[in-house]
Symmetry: C2
Subunit: 346 residues, 2 copies
Amino acid sequence: MPSDDRAVTLQDIADRLGVSRSTASFAITGRGRVSAEMRRRVLEVADELGYRPNTVARNLRGARTGMLALRLPPHSTSMAYYMEAAFGAVEEAAQAGVIVFLLTTDPEVDSLDRLPADAVIILDPALDDPVTRALLRGRVPVITGEPVPDGLPAGRGEVTSDHAPAVRELLDHLAERGARRPAVVFPALRNHWAFTVRDAIDSWCAEHGIRPRIAEVPHPAEPAEIQAAVAEIVLDDDDEPADAIIAVSDGTVLSVVTSAQRLGRRVGEDLLVASLVDSDVLALAQPSITAIDLHPREFGRRCARAALAAIEADADGEPIHEVVPVSVQRRASTLGPATDGAPQDG
Amino acid sequence: MPSDDRAVTLQDIADRLGVSRSTASFAITGRGRVSAEMRRRVLEVADELGYRPNTVARNLRGARTGMLALRLPPHSTSMAYYMEAAFGAVEEAAQAGVIVFLLTTDPEVDSLDRLPADAVIILDPALDDPVTRALLRGRVPVITGEPVPDGLPAGRGEVTSDHAPAVRELLDHLAERGARRPAVVFPALRNHWAFTVRDAIDSWCAEHGIRPRIAEVPHPAEPAEIQAAVAEIVLDDDDEPADAIIAVSDGTVLSVVTSAQRLGRRVGEDLLVASLVDSDVLALAQPSITAIDLHPREFGRRCARAALAAIEADADGEPIHEVVPVSVQRRASTLGPATDGAPQDG
DNA sequence: CTGAAAGCGCTAACAG
DNA sequence: CTGTTAGCGCTTTCAG
């Protein structure tokens, strides 16, 4: 029982069977040509010895690292969303024996073009993020979660969600529920998601002859700034008060709901509230909050899959483009108290 | 300008100066003995060529991987907390040129004792988590964020926060603000944090002659389960109603606040609310929510530092033990409306 | 003070 | 069908 501290190597297996390393290697990777019998024996011994291929050494040879770098937006608006997506990517990569590591929020830009990774996944690449820019210029293939905004070099592929229809569906839903004066609290983000959603809102409003009422909050924002924006919309001095409010993140929605309740407005009745990004906590509020479910876990998985594909297709072939479905979760904050007890929920 | 696709290697530098690889290596790592002059020239060329040491190859030799594995609890209660901690670890490790990768939530247990990492960080190790158990039994040194609960083999070190005093401070604060019947919504977690906090609450209550009123919710819980627990406490049929409620995560607190507001209770006035774990969104609610700030970023940094130290001290020396300070953020939900406009906040 | 050479664990030509 | 061999990029003895 070589249960000493050294790791079991191919050599150990080979020695044990009196064959050469390569035979063992071929048997294990299944790549080369070895007899079925030999293969069986190698596998048996490998198992017995508790052999674990050393991924580092394995990848050294192939000029690969067996790693994916993951970049999350510097000031993550929606923690839960990114965390889910991250774990989706980790899971998917793990199935291919690939490791996902996190990039610091603020890495040294010049260390970026020689990243020890076979590909990078950038979630929500933003126009004004120097790291994203450097990564996109670097030699490591880049897959982005959501397209790269115009003005930045394209990556090798992108995974995106069909935001516009979902936003329109949400707006339609609000209208059906009687909303006539919807308002939006929107962060000053310069990424594809923000541009797209904003566009969808604007055009929907135009089609419905409604003046889009958008309170833009800085990003990242101080609590006071968000609270002020929310207060302005909820109060709405100079105009008819908003009868529906859409916000982005857990935090902003929370601010909207609590502010509204404080001011005596009844969420789900005289004020509809919805979020552009779903998260677990939105189902916990009373009333529970209608939101667009971006299926972040699946989104993350697809990003990893795309990244893995980009590594293989190491030429300059077709860029990868994948669309992940999204869905609107209708909950009590827009359905009203009638259905409060049994909101439609996943 | 060798700006072709191949990465710049030590050999390139050596060739350029007509010296050998080892000289270049020594000059760059600063480990060996080379003349100051030679060193200067090597560094210069390295810089010029844009040399980046290949960490993978570098570590191959030393039987190190240059990587830290990070395990987050399978059903993260508090996304923001863990995400912050994770990035703290990533940042700290990056300074030492070490990469932090995420473990899948559900890895194959037998792949765990030969993890391609020099150490593992487990955040909030739980008694009932088989992965934690496997990791602790494995040969990769383990650092835990929060101690390993009794019943599991100890790791090589732990980073912890001084929860008990903070909980007591919070309870004292609530008492000062007039709370007489505090209640707690607590998840059925089997980790050190949960045990400690629960203990602190129990003993504080005992000292103050108060019957601890704890609603335990399953973990992970369905929204309905949490809502039910919250409703029970907020309503409190058979007893005097609670005048202060403590909850753990963003979600539960949100549920408490919105439920309370719906039932006509005024948070910060006739009902005090506080969270055991702070996060950005708690500052956004109206009123903003008092919470214990666990300084997760710093916590994560310390974990990484401890892990790095554990790798060096590869003997069975003293286990590492570090304590990260915590602080109570008093906000409007317990301070009341008087100070609502200017809550004490970081 | 510097160069040659031997590996780290694994893969993949190339022989046999 | 299997063994030999030459590396991947780097570190580190051991000679010179």
